[in-house]
């Protein structure tokens, strides 16, 4: 279980409060008006933003003071998910060892992951030689080898076309099922939430609310969400 225990997060002049918990293995969409603090919430869980008070716990373990790389968290950002000077295989390999010293078994795992996301044979390509969708797949292959308990998505597919975005979300959903990861994804699109998330966290007016069942919330939106959905 991921628990945000009476947390206050300050980002610039803006403060977000969150007091909620997410069960292990859940798939949760984070929605709300832009500027409401969706990314702030995700970045605090990932460890990029310090908490002014409260704690972040995973399975009862306190993560609050841990560096981002020492948390059981894998994250995909809006952009810059790959190093442009490294090959696809190297980018994936970083998920196993940040120094890229990989054993034979680890090399094999990298190849397996690339095959799993449909990029067999593209291991020596650099990101510039891959399409946008393929770049997303490389990042997902890395998430796969990282095998972290929590997967955070900060709209990594926003630049893709609608069909490709759906395809990627389905792949994410499959991978999360295979690895049993707990998924939190920021989304602008209620359709995405309905598609792969069974629960939704509404972020509005300086607070992240406890998760609620997706269909229920979207069908009977509270005023803040209603204003956003239109």
């Amino acid at each position: 279980m991921l628990k945000l225990d009476r947390t206050r997060i300050k980002n610039g002049g803006f403060t977000l409060t969150a007091d909620l918990q997410i069960p292990r293995g859940a798939r949760v969409a984070v929605i709300g008006p832009s500027g409401a603090g969706k990314s702030t919430l995700i970045e605090a869980i990932a460890g990029f933003l310090p908490l002014t008070s409260g704690r972040v716990l995973w399975e009862g373990e306190d993560l609050t003071d841990r560096l981002p790389g020492k948390r059981p968290v894998a994250m995909l950002f809006q952009d810059g998910n790959l190093f442009p000077h490294l090959t696809a295989a190297q980018n994936v390999g970083l998920g196993l060892n940040p120094n890229l010293r990989l054993s034979d078994a680890e090399h094999a795992r990298v190849q397996e992951a690339l095959t799993r996301v449909g990029l067999k044979g593209m291991d020596s390509r650099k990101p510039a030689a891959l399409s946008g969708g393929q770049q997303s797949r490389v990042a997902l292959a890395r998430v796969l080898v990282q095998a972290r308990d929590i997967l955070l998505l900060d709209e990594p597919f926003a630049a893709l076309g609608p069909a490709l975005k759906t395809e990627m979300l389905d792949l994410v959903s499959e991978l999360a099922t295979e690895t049993g990861a707990t998924l939190l994804m920021v989304s602008h699109d209620p359709g995405d939430a309905r598609r792969i998330a069974e629960q939704v966290i509404l972020v509005a007016e300086g607070a992240a609310h406890a998760p609620q069942a997706t269909a229920e919330l979207l069908d009977n939106p509270p005023p803040a969400l209603k204003a956003y959905l239109g």
Partner: protein, 518 residues
């Protein structure tokens, strides 16, 4: 978790900044404690102060006054080779001073090309020793710099303004009043201040073309107090004086943002509608040809006069060349070891200490640091034995401000772009440095290393203080050959020095960009 997590510890940067500050402030303290104030300044000292100020003012005035029409011509003309010419304007920055002086002598000297041409008309030959020689050499070095600074001003005028002016049918007078005069009023004071500050600490030019009671700069006087009288107290006093002047000039120069002064970005295309008549076109052609010849003729002269001698160079030249390559390599490594950690710490949100350490390097002149180091080393070891390591170290510190200017923006960019991804992957410290920073910064590191190597290779400053007759770097050897009137050997050695400096820059700069991708 008070601070945001960063992939690299700033400790190495702090360490490097502290080392630089300790070196500069330590030598300055040594200078201050040893300065002999009792005697006060002699008449000769005052003459040196006066000459320093006069030559720096004249050099700044002439450089900028000539740079305005040249920059104007370059701003409004497009021709084949324009971008090459603009790149060449950056070359004097890494050109060894002694090489340029030999070239200037070959063109403007007593037996030079211009004098020979004058003799055809029965006119007296030129002499470029003394004030006008010093100013000529300074204009040679700083006209290109001033041109680049002013050209930048011209190119910062938005294209829409030129379009509007053309639409209004503005003639040359109106263009001047509307666009050019206000821009120049903004840019020219900065260019003047920069050139003035650079010429203030001129040593090698004054050493070769000046001298005597009427053409001695303070830096040269420091050197003479050392090598002729071995009067450390007086050298320290003069160093103190020099320090005050450079610090004042540096603050003046730093008030105005300068941009890079070298590097690229000045060949943007811009459509212009004014200055299409024949008079304006021939005027611009004149200025571009003038600047091109003024820059290229001395270099051509170095090559032509050096070629006959380069194959029969004396062994002392080759050993000096070897020493220079060693010094330049060591200096480049020292520079990178200082500049990279400082740039990375600055990029991760701790710019102030790094900037201060970098500025110290600008304010203190090499001869002042050299004097201080000499005073510090003298009681414990023979400074002459340490001539080459000291030269490498001082050269590195002198190149530091430029290296930081090149590296800090690039580091900031890399950290901003890859910080979060690296942190989620737990790439911190060495893995981040090796897998992200070094590959991403190759081009900038190569450029900075190339500048450092070329500057060190061509430097004739500190080495003159520390060298005994047995030891010499190549620039010093060229100077000694000139002093011994072995002009053929000097010309050959100068050509070798030119090739080594430019070659070092080219190899490192190219090496950084080799197979580098986006």
């Amino acid at each position: 978790m008070a601070r945001r997590a960063q992939p690299l510890s700033p400790a190495a940067g702090y360490g490097a900044a502290a080392l630089v500050a300790a070196l500069i402030l330590g030598t300055l303290a040594a200078v201050a404690f040893n300065a002999e104030t009792g005697r006060g300044l002699s008449a000769a000292d005052w003459a040196a102060v006066r000459f320093t100020l006069i030559q720096a003012s004249l050099s700044a005035l002439f450089s900028v006054a000539l740079a305005v029409p040249v920059a104007r011509s370059l701003a409004r003309r497009r021709f084949k080779g324009r971008s090459v010419l603009i790149t060449l304007l950056g070359a004097p920055f890494i050109l060894p001073v002694i090489v340029a002086i030999l070239g200037l002598l070959a063109v403007f000297g007593r037996a030079g090309w211009v004098s020979e041409a004058l003799a055809l008309f029965g006119l007296e030959p030129l002499s470029i020793y003394g004030l006008h020689g010093v100013v000529l050499a300074h204009v040679f070095f700083n006209l290109p710099l001033a041109t680049r600074l002013i050209l930048q001003g011209w190119q910062e005028i938005p294209a829409e303004r030129f379009r509007l002016a053309a639409q209004l049918g503005a003639g040359p007078r109106a263009m001047w009043q509307l666009l050019e005069a206000p821009m120049l009023a903004r840019v020219v004071p900065g260019a003047l201040a920069v050139v003035f500050a650079i010429c203030l600490s001129s040593f090698a030019v004054a050493l070769t073309l000046g001298g005597g009671p009427r053409a001695t700069t303070i830096e040269l006087a420091i050197f003479q107090a050392f090598s002729f009288d071995f009067d450390l107290g007086r050298a320290a006093l003069l160093s103190g004086l020099q320090l005050v002047l450079t610090a004042l000039a540096a603050t003046l120069a730093l008030r105005t943002p300068v941009g890079e002064g070298f590097g690229s970005g000045l060949d943007r295309m811009l459509r212009r509608w004014d200055g299409q008549n024949t008079f304006a076109q021939s005027l611009d052609t004149f200025w571009i040809v003038f600047a091109g010849l003024f820059l290229l003729l001395p270099l051509l002269a170095v090559v032509l006069s050096g070629l006959p001698g380069v194959l029969s160079l004396p062994a002392t030249v080759w050993s000096a060349a070897f020493a220079s390559v060693l010094v330049a390599s060591a200096s480049t490594l020292i520079l990178l070891a200082l500049a990279l950690p400082m740039a990375l710490a600055a990029a991760q949100g701790r710019p102030l200490p790094m900037e201060i350490a970098g500025l110290l390097g600008l304010a203190a002149s090499p001869l002042v640091i050299g004097t201080g180091l000499f005073i510090l080393i003298y009681p414990v070891a023979s400074p002459f034995a340490l001539a080459l390591p000291v030269t490498a170290l001082v050269n590195a510190v002198m190149a530091l401000p430029f290296a930081l200017r090149i590296l800090v923006p690039a580091c900031r960019d890399v950290v901003a772009r890859h910080r979060k991804l690296a942190l989620t992957l737990d790439m911190r410290g060495w893995p981040f440095l090796r897998r992200v920073v070094l590959p991403r910064l190759r081009a900038q590191i190569g450029f900075a290393a190339g500048l450092a190597a070329a500057l060190s290779m061509g430097d004739l400053g500190v080495i003159a203080l520390f060298a005994d007759p047995e030891v010499a770097t190549l620039p010093l050897q060229v100077y000694r050959l000139m002093g011994a009137y072995q002009m053929q050997a000097a010309a050959g050695a100068a050509l070798l020095l030119l090739v080594l400096s430019m070659g070092a820059f080219w190899i490192l700069d190219r090496g950084g960009r080799w197979h580098a991708e986006a």
